[in-house]
């Protein structure tokens, strides 16, 4: 069943409240949620208007309350007149929310605020109209006005903070162009809106422009700045046939791009959607927030009523002149000070910020609920090819046994191999290209699976055969019936692999390698990078079994592999990290997707998990403590120390505390951003120094 994108409630597809954006349907539980989704700017404008009016009138209310004598006979009426617009225009949103909560039999914060402010207002109105009913009682229009004003101010500040929290995601969308240069069949270029682009179309992207869609280069070559998407600061060279991601920037060439994915299916949009969804993730500690929220309103109401009754009966018994006044103020203070939003925001806002910071480093948190499990990971299982090693092999040496030169050998072999998609073929082609060799036309080509390829190049028969000395990564070259060379090919270990393994071990994490390759090859790599627990000759479906085996021993396992080919192992593991392809991140399995091939990001992912969960716990502790301490304060525990006069300002202070409570949680969560960056910086400085010793005192404790 779909969920409302605003509030997260499950919504049946039969609802009338549906809207479509970028070809995707969104379902809503209420018209309020639909409006918030469709016109977020409108909501922000409404809030601003209400807030401005509120302050313009609330300040005079406060000044008149304290500076104008009660003896002035029209004082209370002036206060009433100034308060009415605040109460019923600025405060209208609370009453609307309270009404919905009553209708749905689900009490919420709006109900509490409405009760609080209306209690103060109605009491004051009663005193204004019937001053002799409670002799000596004052009016508290300042309290009712400032409750609304301060809470709206808190909401406003919180919205600004939340926009900062989602900065990375917003920046992604802001940098996208509004138009694309569409090339038609005659070569004419016209500007079209971005959302009209379709797969199969050709776009012209000029130097300095952002690629508006995913595709492959149809014509031209250029350097591309991929930092906004992958986090890689160094531009990469791209030429015809190579993949381009939307949201990357064309640095210095004019390119014709064949569109593969656009609009809602494009990489940049998928990343944006994933970041936005991050706040719906769940950490286990949020159960406390759920329990708190579930019982919150009844407990607060009970506390407010109890406090109110206590003061009334206690003061009556001591002969105090206006016990009803204090009783009302105590009720209003307790009702208003209680803040469910601080605890409700603690988890989601932290996950949102964490997801934003991660995306700046090319780390896409696809499932933010996994961050909880990430903090518990004590074993990493890595696939070999494409993870520990480069995903493409390279030619490591050519042993010439005939009369031909290396250049001639590469001409023969690359001419044949350009007709094959085998990894060894690609390695030979790359080497030839590096040496500036242009392949010639080959004929009578025959590729024999498991054996090699053969054909004629320039009329001369050429064969490339798997080498007989059991080295999968060597091939024999036979030209015109003569053995002329052996070409050695292997997957290079990523330069950062050994450091990454060392850092994982420093964090107390065991590392294992799984691979379909021979034991000899995998052992060699394991020795080089410091991993002794290896599993060789493993079929893809067996990788998941290895993960399960570790899990049955109580380990929390992170599996690092290819997002498409290792999907089962990625899904089986506690945290699945998909490396480097990013070709279709929506389709890839895994909880985390790494858009660049930097192995160090595995350590960063673990650090992000640790920091995020620590911050969630901190926020929940803060929010819980906030309420636990301030509700008794509002109920009157400070009265023995400060006297009953504290109640003249306590309702306003309660509103201030309430308004700031959510903002304080958001602000505290924003501190996660520099903290994660500092942790990354410390990690990078250490590895730049080439020090593989444990980073004591530098890494945060787990």
């Amino acid at each position: 069943m779909p969920t409302d994108p605003v509030c997260g409630m499950f919504v049946p597809e039969t609802t009338d409240l549906v809207t479509e954006v970028d070809g995707k349907k969104y379902y809503f539980c209420s018209s309020g949620c639909m409006q918030k989704f469709s016109s977020p700017d409108l909501e922000a404008k409404k809030l601003r208007k209400r807030l401005i009016l509120s302050w313009i009138l609330a300040v005079p209310v406060l000044l008149i309350t304290y500076l104008v004598s009660e003896k002035f006979q029209y004082r209370d009426y002036i206060l009433l007149a100034l308060t009415l617009p605040i109460q019923f225009y600025s405060g209208f949103g609370f009453y609307e929310g309270a009404w919905h909560s009553i209708k749905s039999k689900s009490a919420n914060m709006d109900l509490l605020v409405s009760i609080g402010t209306l209690t103060a207002f109605i009491f004051s109105l009663f005193i204004t109209l019937f001053p002799s009913a409670i002799p000596g009682a004052g009016v508290y229009y300042d309290a009712s006005a400032f409750i609304i004003t301060l809470i709206l101010t808190g909401n406003f500040i919180e919205n600004i903070m939340k926009r900062k929290a989602n900065r990375a995601a917003e920046r992604l969308m802001d940098m996208m162009p509004s138009v694309a240069h569409l090339v038609n069949e005659t070569g004419q270029v016209t500007d079209v809106p971005l959302d009209s682009i379709k797969p199969g179309q050709i776009l012209n992207v000029r130097a300095g422009e952002v690629f508006p869609a995913d595709g492959v280069i149809d014509n031209g070559s250029t350097e591309v700045d991929e930092s906004m998407i992958t986090g890689e600061q160094i531009p990469v060279f791209r030429e015809k046939g190579q993949r381009i991601l939307s949201g990357t920037r064309n640095i210095n060439g004019s390119i014709y791009l064949l569109v593969k994915r656009a609009g809602g299916d494009s990489t940049v949009r998928q990343i944006y959607d994933m970041i936005e969804r991050a706040s719906s993730g769940r950490a286990k500690v949020q159960r406390i927030a759920d329990v708190f929220s579930y019982y919150f309103v009844p407990v607060v109401m009970a506390s407010a009523i109890t406090s109110s009754l206590f003061w009334y009966f206690y003061l009556s018994s001591t002969g105090y002149s206006d016990p009803i006044e204090i009783s009302v103020l105590a009720f209003v203070s307790v009702i208003v000070i209680a803040c469910p939003c601080a605890i409700g925001l603690a988890g989601p806002i932290t996950l949102l910020i964490s997801s934003n910071v991660s995306s700046e480093n090319g780390i896409i948190i696809k499932n933010s609920s996994a961050l909880d499990r990430l903090s518990k990971v004590n074993r990493v299982v890595m696939d070999k090819t494409g993870t520990i090693t480069e995903s493409e092999p390279t030619v490591t040496g050519i042993d010439i046994t005939g009369e031909e030169t290396e250049s001639e050998i590469l001409t023969y072999t690359s001419s044949l191999e350009m007709n094959s998609n085998h990894p060894i073929a690609r390695a030979i082609q790359s080497r030839a290209k590096l040496m500036g060799i242009n392949p010639e036309k080959a004929e009578d080509i025959r590729e024999i699976p498991g054996t090699g390829i053969e054909g004629t190049v320039g009329g001369i028969p050429v064969k490339i055969r798997k080498s007989g000395n059991d080295e999968r990564s060597s091939v024999k070259v036979v030209v015109d019936g003569r053995d002329v060379a052996v070409i050695h090919v292997s997957y290079k270990i990523r330069p950062e692999a050994k450091r990454t393994i060392t850092e994982l071990k420093t964090l107390g994490i065991e590392v294992s390698i799984v691979s379909g390759d021979t034991d000899k090859e995998v052992q060699a790599i394991g020795e080089e990078i410091g991993v002794s627990d290896i599993y060789s000759g493993i079929l893809p479906e067996q990788k998941a079994e290895i993960v399960k085996k570790f899990q049955s021993n109580g380990d929390y396992v992170m599996f690092v592999g290819d997002g498409i080919n290792d999907s089962v192992a990625l899904e089986t593991s506690d945290v699945g990290v998909a490396m480097g392809s990013g070709s279709d991140i929506a389709r890839e399995s895994g909880d985390v997707i790494l858009l660049n091939n930097n192995l160090e990001n595995i350590v960063k992912v673990k650090l992000i998990g640790n920091e995020t969960i620590t911050k969630v716990r901190q926020n929940i502790g803060w929010a819980f403590g906030y309420n636990a301490i301030l509700i008794p304060v509002a109920a009157g525990v400070l009265v023995p120390f400060l006297g009953l006069s504290v109640y003249t300002i306590l309702p306003i202070l309660s509103a201030f505390a309430m308004g700031m409570s959510s903002s304080s949680v958001v602000m505290n969560s924003l501190l996660l951003r520099p903290r994660i960056r500092k942790t990354f910086r410390n990690y990078s400085i250490k590895e730049m120094a080439g020090n593989a010793v444990a980073m004591e005192g530098v890494l945060p404790s787990i």
């Binding site: 605003v6 509030c7 997260g8 409630m9 499950f10 949620c33 918030k36 929310g97 749905s104 689900s106 009490a107 919420n108 914060m109 709006d110 509490l112 919180e158 939340k162 706040s279 719906s280 769940r282 950490a283 286990k284 949020q286 159960r287 759920d290 929220s293 579930y294 919150f296 309103v297 469910p340 939003c341 605890i343 409700g344 925001l345 988890g347 989601p348 806002i349 949102l352 609920s369 909880d372 499990r373 899990q551 506690d574 959510s662």
Partner: protein, 111 residues
Amino acid sequence: MKNEKIMLKSGRGIIWIDPKILDFLENYVPWIHILEKKGACTDETCQVIYRATVDRYDPARSGECIEISSGNMKVMLQKDVYESIDNSRQEIYLTKSIAGGLKIKGFTYSP
């Protein structure tokens, strides 16, 4: 034996059955599913409250479920409940509620 909790494996997690409810379960297949409720916080970033609740299993209305059983003991789990228990390796308790029905303790929604 009758006083010992009964263990049902649910993926990587466990459901413990309170022995005091065994009589209750004789003609009753519990269906554990999620009820959602909007919380007290009205901010759109705040999440909905998800609570696991227990009702009698009814194939007509229970939708897609996963059966967990051991011997004669059978419990039906909504898919999200199963995934939450499995993903976070939770240990939850099926026990008697104050009202006389059944309730779940220790569950956290994390699909």
